[in-house]
Symmetry: C2
């Protein structure tokens, strides 16, 4: 019998207990032994909970019990999760977490401690909720060198963009709806709408794919606040969808670029068809080409089932399998991982004629729309830096730049 | 250093050698040791090949060399692959194969031998080419009970259906194009177009998901020969795509249904957007909901890279991880795994008015088209058996049934 502890009895933590109980028989068969929760650590009062006997409010009880071989961390945030996870690993326990902030901030250090102590540190649920992404990336694609990742990794913003497209709902109304459904935080929704959640997730995926730690604060990040219903409708008329994309790319020279930004996705791309709260991550391997992993990005039971799969994995295999799930420690860089690759951009000028637009952005721009006194066009093959210069020039000439969005390459 | 042998130097076998050489550094890092090919077994003459020194034409040379710890089988078919693989497993070697016919026919027996001998029998490349499907299914979804699988698992027919839809090409022309591109066999293309390849793959996936061996010969199978350009165009007008779907479903009562059949897929379904030679498999877990794995279904390097990932896995972990990659032996059933679940069906009658159609199939049918003297409609909530009765009745009344296609449930 394997004895485990759960740290944090919120949505995911309570889901882990539920999954372990509901699928106990098949989990026992796969883990080769029954998996029992002996402790749940939570500072809140659960004295009237049916499982009250399991609750403790001090992690030392867990760490001093030699029966506990694996710890599940579902507290979220850095305090006290970081200290708890570090202590559990140092004490020789496997740790499984769903905490993306923790992995994005301290992943390399925690992986190094796990390796040194001969235990697992696993975090499939930190990206894509329950959708398998991290394991297929490091295990099934082990014979590939990964050059690019591009994903829809935040279900809340994808839900909002879907509503904006389907029901002509503006950003504010879509946000209110997402909040009322519990998808976005009521007090401060910025983790979702400003791309912070996606920034953490792409940091994790890039670290895994490229072998060294990439820090969230170095990822150029733009959320969906300035995406308008008009942008989405114009995109649809061009056969494209607007999606918040977290991407990372490694050039042949070893240079790495990362970003989180809303982009125009041509309909033929698998990512364009990802709607509602679903997530999808496209990974490009040098041997394999493109693969896409798609599934529901969040939710109590999906996320909990990914945590439990990692627990099974840790109990069965110990550290041996996970040598490939590792990346080197590194220091944050000054500034951001900029993108100097030329790309096509959608540009919407709020008060300009076609002639003015061509005068400012060049005769070769491809006009998409000139209704309502706006000039909307595609500008091909420019870097983000060059685009910023052109927009600054336009503003200096009294033109309001409504929005610019990068086209995803086909 | 790990020493391996490759059996069969065809497309996939030569790809395995190429992947191992091209990505030698990263493969060594992940496997924890260099991986070297010592033998290639092929009965053909490779005496002028640059690697002529590696070739042997007798498997005994390989099986009597204690340095060889893993064998890759990429011969295909049952003879001599079955005997070779069995001998290699019996002799205590890990075996990795891309051979779907072998796994679909003898998988349970070979898994049992591998378990008894404490070695791995791995076959990620047998379904979906290089796309990770089998490993995520048994490992990442370990905390789920799988109730349903539905996939596009044959790239050749998907390519043909895509061409028929996009370019109005008829079946014969699409087949010729697929043959000229090397996607379909020139002499007998029936493995692809009659669904035999898909039948083997769904047998493997169902065996893995439901825990006992399902034999290809028990899977009701229909290919794409009778899908016309007209059916595809009518489907498109209904916002649906025609796709060859291999599916398996387990009811709450434990009953299992499997089939390979062309179906109408509503555009909102992720499978509808899968085009060209791509594959995609949708798996439904009780905790996780739907996940989809998408990628290029075949090709030398993609498939070879999946084989190599399995080799790395076997060398690193031995048999421990693979207790969950197992199913029980069983006997073929008499007859087929029928589907008694009511579903919506598209029906095209070649010589009937709306009134005649309603008279034969019921007043509640939903007419889709009545041009060219045909009556095309959707009939909701009937079993395949009931539909067959109704079609027989129509034929008896002198009406030609152009085609019937099941709608995939939304």
């Amino acid at each position: 019998m394997a004895t485990i502890a759960i740290l944090g009895y919120g949505t995911v933590g309570s889901g882990v207990l539920e999954v372990l109980r509901r699928n106990a028989a098949s989990i026992e068969r796969r883990a080769g032994q029954p998996v029992t929760v002996k402790y749940i650590c939570d500072i809140r009062d659960f004295s009237s909970h049916p499982d009250a006997a399991l609750f403790v409010n001090n992690i030392d009880v867990i760490l001093s019990d030699p029966e506990v071989t694996a710890v599940v961390e579902t507290i979220g945030g850095l305090k006290p999760a970081y200290f708890y996870v570090k202590s559990a690993l140092e004490s020789g326990r496997h740790v499984v977490t769903s905490n993306k902030e923790l992995v994005a901030t301290h992943g390399a250090e925690l992986l190094a401690i796990a390796r040194r102590r001969g235990v697992c540190f696993l975090f499939e649920a930190s990206v894509g909720g329950g959708t398998p992404i991290i394991t297929p990336m490091h295990q099934c694609m082990a014979a590939n060198v990964i050059s690019e990742i591009a994903g829809i990794v935040n279900g809340t913003t994808n839900f909002m963009l879907t509503k904006m497209a389907r029901e002509n709902m503006d950003f504010g109304a879509a946000l209110k709806l997402a909040q009322s459904l519990g998808y976005a935080e009521t007090i401060d929704p910025s983790a979702d709408v400003d791309g912070i959640d996606a920034q953490r997730k792409i940091s994790i995926l890039a670290s895994l794919a490229f072998g060294r730690h990439f820090f969230p604060q170095n990822v150029p990040t733009r959320g969906i606040r300035d995406v308008s219903v008009k942008d989405i409708a114009l995109a649809a008329r061009q056969g494209a969808a607007v999606r918040l994309i977290a991407w990372a790319r490694r050039g042949d020279d070893g240079s790495v670029a990362l970003a989180v930004e809303p982009m125009l996705i041509p309909r033929e791309n698998q990512l364009a068809g990802v709607e509602d709260v679903f997530n999808a991550v496209l990974v490009k391997g040098d041997m394999l080409g493109d693969v896409v992993f798609y599934g529901k990005g969040a939710g109590k039971l999906p996320t909990a089932s990914a945590v439990v799969a990692d627990v099974i994995d840790a109990l069965k295999n110990g550290v041996k399998i996970h040598d490939s799930l590792f990346w080197q420690e590194s220091a944050p860089i000054e500034g951001l991982y900029g993108d100097s690759t030329p790309a096509d951009h959608y540009v919407r000028l709020e008060n300009a004629t076609e002639a003015v637009a061509k005068d400012l952005f060049g005769q070769q721009i491809e006009m998409l729309d000139t209704s309502d006194g706006e000039a909307v066009f595609t500008l091909r093959g420019v870097t983000s830096g060059r685009l910023a210069e052109l927009c600054a020039k336009a503003r200096a000439a009294g033109v309001r730049v409504g929005n610019t969005l990068k086209w995803m390459a086909e």
